[in-house]
Amino acid sequence: MPKIKITVVKRFKPEDVFGDEGYTTPNGKKITECTAFKDGQEFIVEKLDKPEGFCGWAWRDIYKDVAVLNFGGNFKNWAKDGTQFTACTDGVRPVCFKLERIDE
């Protein structure tokens, strides 16, 4: 089975989504960009297992794309063969990822 490399391409701030006022929760907490990841951070997926420390919510969001690459599929006419770009579904501070199949 191939391995899949996940790279954090970009983390957006609430200000990028909502404008200068950013985002504050109903109980008054000011939200920043995602703190679960760092820009440029890399993870390796083996046997379709979630890498240690990887965010569970984001994993659920990107899993379907990881599976396509894992089982030999390609996102034809969208991204280069063996790669895909996908985003976590957090609408306050989205994170964009690049996925790459590492063929053995």
Partner: protein, 101 residues
Amino acid sequence: MPKIKISVLKVFTPEDVFGEKYIAPDGTVAEPCHLKEGQEWISTDLKKPDGFCSWAWDDFRKDLYLLYFGGDIPDTPKGVVYTVCSDAKRPVCFKLERLEE
């Protein structure tokens, strides 16, 4: 891009799961899913066929996605995924097939 054929393989009843009728807290008796074994749909451009169940669709969309983009899972024929909806009181098994152009 390929079309995907969805067929109903097996409709389990609440009795199959629990060994007896399933009675909801409000007293209603759970019926089996309305889908019929052998029923078929074709999905084009990864779109949900009109009227198809949203819940089941969400459960196996990842499998459709895999077939659509050319992935094949081990231990089943090429271009086929067997999957099931997550309504555990009355699960329905589906066969998904990639129709090659």
